[in-house]
Amino acid sequence: MSTFEPVLTRNTRRPDSEKIATYLANGGYQATRMALKMQPDEIIEMVKRSGLRGRGGAGFPAGVKWGFMPKDAPQKIVAVNTDEGEPGTFKDREIVERDPHSVIEGVIIAAYAVGANRAYVYIRGEFFLGVKRWIKAIADAYEHGFLGKDILGSGFNLDMSVHRGAGAYICGEETAMLESLEGKPGNPRLKPPYPAQTGLFGLPTLVHNIETLACIPHIIERGAEWFAGIGTAESKGPKIFSVSGHVNRPGNYELPLGVSLREIIYEHAGGIRNGRALKAVIPGGASTPMLPADQIDVPMAFETLKAIGSELGTGAVIVMDESTCMVQAARRLTKFFAHESCGQCTPCRLGSTRLYEILDRIERGQGKKGDLELLLETVQGIDGTTFCPMGAALVNPARSAIRHFRDEFESHLANKRCPVNGR
């Protein structure tokens, strides 16, 4: 993969990378100039051809979503998702903090293509620096005429502002984010209608993760074919992988989709810490099913991970070495989800707590006969019965840990102690 040229992170290591001057000096806003001279439909076609899929977790084809935006609606909105709450994921943070203008460009082009004149940025409340940089970047973009009325003389208008979240993971789910943007509690909405039909304030709304948007200027500048030339059959383009856990060099790595997990862990992240052996990897953020060490040759792509029962998610790779107790890992992850359930629907609100309680007692050596079966039944009761996709997500840690490390659970139950750390 030596020919791969990082584009999403090309600016992030420059000094003053977040400043508009730096961005402009390195060819910034060229894509905007080009796009504003194109027909909106041409851009949508281009994004479709590029094969770009959403980077926020669900991997929905971006161009198709743009096509869903009604042509005739008088008012439309672009909502920019910078909530980044998925544990293990810290790619969006790097983008806003170090290269916010690349996203602004993506938003301008997307808004122009779907005919939206208003954009709202939703940002995780704890991203203090990110909030500051977003606001500064937007102000500078206005000053340079990239936002506001008649952008670059094209006749196209776009206003953009920032809204801070208040610390709920669920507010990253697109409809909960819309509720929160409207000033309400962040509870997901019933779908359909989808945001493209009825979104923010009842208006058609295009929701994107910021990494998805950051890809857009490059597609415009280098062409859909360039983008589609990177990656696998169904997963195109560059991707930032956030690597964390028991590796020597945790961090963000921009690599082509389709790169193997092994390459990410051993070549880019410097291998496992302290010379220990790898035990398990979560490939796409806390909500994606974990994989055992022997499956790390899988290419990091939507379709290949799906084929082995996991998901690409946000591409956040969480690495666990042999010293990790998988019961503890599952318990800790489940605790996160139980804490973050919005509480709107029964199986997530109560099922998540029940899952946590069972995992907790198994870990404490107080598990009972039948607890493993009960865990799986409870998973069954949550998956597919919840209001929003959170239910399907929250069962993944427990279910995948049992699938690959069942003996560890059984050992906890039989011996009332942990086979890994002895406690």
Partner: protein, 818 residues
């Protein structure tokens, strides 16, 4: 024509209108799908996940657009996961399985989850016995929990959400029905969810807490015992209760209710009313009632009720036998002949009023209705008729509300008018001040006090408003006497009637005039021939007065004086009122809960109520007392069953022709289906098995052409330069005899208060919440001061029935409290 859709539910072919939700389609076909958060009166929320079913649709061939066949049958594409029946809309060929193994497993799972965090304190829970969670657990739940009891969640169990409603946080299953009811139905979004996840809890976010006059309804639709009324809480078990169909007697809407009663030791072995529940009548109150109706029934059981007849001896009212009292009353009336005057209140039933009218006619005496709202003769002509249902009004229709604070005067009409506006009806509110209806109105027209009639007359000349009235598909006009007296209200009624007649909006369903009367049966009194008297004090002069169900002396010192100057006063009452204290003879009447009868609502619907409890002490029903007096005068009055009185009434009064008790008791199937087996669906509202009532025929519908009534020329009383003008307004919770004995409502009744403009207050050196002395009608009273910047300067709103002598706009002086 509504388009129909056919689908299969559990193998049964079901045909329903397009757009129907699967859960409702099933209910219509007699198939139960368990629900908690869904309620047929509200948009689905999909939150509780109780209604999980397997759902499939015919597979469509993309190329041909035709269904794919398999063995000659359409191939079904099953949804990959269980679906919620409450959020999915039916489609042709859809297949729904509600009791398949997979569906049952899902339903069981949800119930088991709910129960893991439910206290299961059914033995002490008010809902026990009529609890959807209990019932659905038996029908759909697991026999046994796989989870541990000691992992149960604990939360606060006694949280007052206001004075009327208590919340048990542990029992709450977070279905959101209460929150959504307040937002979607009541339009008073004062409840909300706080926190998230397992900590999610219900809170009230208003000041005062749970500030809504519809709050009791949340206890009916709460599927568990989380919400209970302060009134019934720990009061009785549902299965100990008997029920009696009745009507709410607090306002002219005529809400159908059920009294739940029990004989109990702590009430001295008496049968007492334990609670008031709504009874379904989709054309009147749907399945709701307001809090006044729910909580202000205690007057019937007050120890202060009159127990036996009283006769004045040596200046003192002393107990007497019925014989003595009736003989005396009859003798006095006989002696007076046409110099008698019969004064009746709209709390009486049609039967009571009919007998009183016959008595008056027999004597050649005047029969006067005691009221401050005029124009009922116009309502009898162009009032509502059969086929009317406020729920039918929407886009293209117009509703005008004039000189009326519908929220305070007739809450359920307020609710239904608001909902019509939500559905797109144009709402025009015409008043001298802002009311709670304004925010739902398309047009708000303000007038200076005194200009009410000219303003109404000018409406047709206004561009948009004129068009909205003229071009309305249907036009309803509500009016009352906000800020006015009888005369003012009479001319408002005339102006409103003219609008309806000129634009041709009368004589057909959903069109016409509605008087927002102070009592449940004022309309009946008008229909039977009672008329108010513009100068009642003068009319009383020298008369022998027979007063039933009215307290003029308590309301107005001038009338008290007039009664002192009158001849003999005979009073028929529930309580020893100020008026009764002036009487020569006091006749104790039975409360309406203790007997049968009918009321005519403001919409001119005649409805029956049934006895709920035995008669109090020695009381008799009003119509019986009147008949027994009449018999002593040689008049043929019916003292038997009320049905017999009603038969005579229908034979004599044209509008009632053709009605009978049996007809009034007829029911038709109603939607949504509510009642015992369907508690989980519609709530604890009672099914109506005792009669939906029948509209009176309007003279205009019978082809009679109404005459254009004359409208008062010029203006009414206006504020003067240097004096405030006190104008009477109606308060929902006041000190009326039917309200004040309900201890629970004390805080809502509050102290007597006047409302003035902030500028007026500033001029007088008064602040909000302070006390002041007012001089009104020659009397001094201490009141609280409230401020409202929407009322005209120079005007003071003075509530009726709060012990302040305000029967008409009158000058008022305000000074600092001593």
């Amino acid at each position: 024509m509504t388009e129909l859709v056919t689908l299969s539910i559990d193998g049964k072919q079901v045909t329903v209108p397009k757009g129907t939700l699967v859960v409702d389609a099933a209910k219509q076909a007699g198939i139960d799908i368990p629900v908690f958060c869904y309620h047929p009166k509200m948009e689905p929320a999909g939150m509780c996940r109780m209604c999980l079913v397997e759902l499939g649709r015919p597979m469509i061939d993309r190329a041909t657009g035709q269904p794919v066949l398999e063995n000659g049958q359409p191939k079904i594409q099953w949804a990959p996961k269980l679906e919620t029946a409450c959020t999915n809309v039916v489609s042709d060929g859809m297949v729904v399985l509600t009791r398949s193994e997979k569906a049952r497993a899902g339903q069981q799972e949800i119930l088991e989850f709910l129960l893991t965090s439910h206290p299961l304190d059914c033995p002490v829970c008010d809902k026990g016995g009529e609890c959807p969670l209990q019932n659905l657990t038996l029908d759909y739940g697991p026999g046994k929990s796989r989870f541990l009891y000691n992992e149960k969640h604990h939360a606060e169990k006694h949280v007052p959400l206001g004075e009327l409603i208590w919340l048990d946080r542990e029992r709450c299953i977070q279905c959101g029905r209460c929150v959504r009811f307040q937002r979607l139905v009541a339009g008073e979004p004062v409840l909300a969810f706080d926190e998230r996840g397992r900590d999610t809890e219900i809170i009230t976010n208003s000041e005062p807490a749970f500030d809504s006059i519809f709050s009791g309804n949340t206890t009916d639709i709460c599927p568990v015992g989380a919400l209970t009324t302060a009134d019934f809480r720990f009061g009785a078990r549902p299965w100990e209760l008997k029920s009696a169909a009745s009507l709410c007697a607090q306002c002219p809407v005529g809400c159908n209710i059920t009294f739940n009663t029990r004989r109990e030791a702590k009430s001295g072995g008496r049968v007492v009313i334990k609670r008031v529940m709504p009874r379904q009548n989709e054309e009147v109150n749907e399945i709701w009632i307001c809090d006044k109706g729910r909580f202000a029934y205690h007057f019937t059981e007050s120890e202060a009720r009159l127990r036996q007849p009283l006769i004045r001896r040596n200046g003192q009212l002393q107990p007497a036998s019925w014989e003595e009292a009736l003989d005396l009353a009859a003798a006095k009336l006989k002696a007076a002949g046409k110099d008698a005057l019969i004064l009746a209140g709209g709390r009486l039933s049609n039967e009571d009023l009919f007998n009183l009218k016959k008595l008056a006619d027999g004597l050649g005496a005047q029969s006067v209705l005691y009221t401050h709202v005029g124009g009922g003769d116009l309502v009898t002509q162009i009032g509502l008729a059969s086929g009317t249902n406020l729920a039918d009004l929407g886009k293209g229709d117009t509703i005008l509300v004039a000189a009326c604070d519908l929220y305070e005067e007739a809450p359920i009409w307020w609710l239904r008018v608001k909902q019509a506006a939500d559905r797109g009806a144009t709402l025009i509110v015409v008043n001298a001040r802002a009311t709670r209806l304004d925010k739902h109105a398309g047009y708000v027209v303000r007038y200076a006090p005194g200009d009410e009639t000219v303003t109404l007359q000018g409406l047709l000349k206004q561009d948009k408003i004129g068009a909205a009235i003229r071009e309305a598909g249907n036009l309803l006009v509500f009016y009352a006497a906000d800020g006015l007296d009888l005369n003012g209200s009479t001319s408002v009624a005339a102006a409103c009637a003219n609008l309806l007649i000129e634009t041709g909006h009368f004589g057909r369903p959903n069109n016409g005039l509605i008087g927002v009367w102070p009592h449940a049966n004022d309309q009946g009194a008008w229909e039977i021939g009672f008329r108010p008297e513009a100068d009642l004090a003068a009319a009383l002069k020298g008369k022998t007065v027979y007063i039933a169900a009215a307290d003029p002396a308590g309301d107005d010192p001038r009338l008290a004086k007039a009664l002192q100057d009158a001849g003999t006063v005979i009073v028929q009452e529930l309580f020893q009122t100020a008026t009764a204290s002036l009487a020569e003879v006091v006749l104790p009447a039975a409360a309406y809960t203790e007997r049968e009868g009918t009321f005519t609502s403001g919409e001119r619907r005649v409805q029956r109520y049934y006895p709920a409890v035995p008669r109090w002490a020695e009381t008799k029903a009003d119509y019986v007392i009147t008949a027994e007096i009449g018999q002593r005068l040689g008049l043929d009055l019916e003292a038997g069953a009320p049905a017999l009185v009603f038969n005579r009434l229908t034979a004599e009064i044209t509008a009632f022709a053709g009605l009978s008790y049996r007809k009034l008791a007829e029911v038709r199937p109603q939607w949504p289906i509510v009642g015992r087996a369907d508690l989980y669906y519609g709530g604890t509202t009672y099914e109506n098995k005792q009669g939906l009532g029948v509209h009176l025929a309007a003279a205009a519908s019978a082809g009679e052409s109404p005459h254009l009534p004359e409208v008062r020329k010029g203006s009414g009383p206006r504020p003067q330069e240097d004096a405030l003008l006190a104008v009477p307004v109606t308060k929902l919770y006041d000190l009326g005899v039917t309200v004040r004995s309900s201890v629970l409502l004390e805080a809502r009744i509050g102290l007597p208060a006047i409302t003035i403009h902030p500028l007026t207050a500033e001029k007088m050196g008064l602040k909000a919440g302070e006390k002041a002395m007012i001089g009104l009608g020659g009397h001094e009273n201490e009141v609280l001061v409230k401020l409202d910047e929407t009322i005209p300067a120079g005007v003071a709103l003075v509530p009726r029935s709060m012990g302040l002598p305000v029967s008409a706009p009158a000058p008022l002086s305000v000074g600092k409290a001593k």
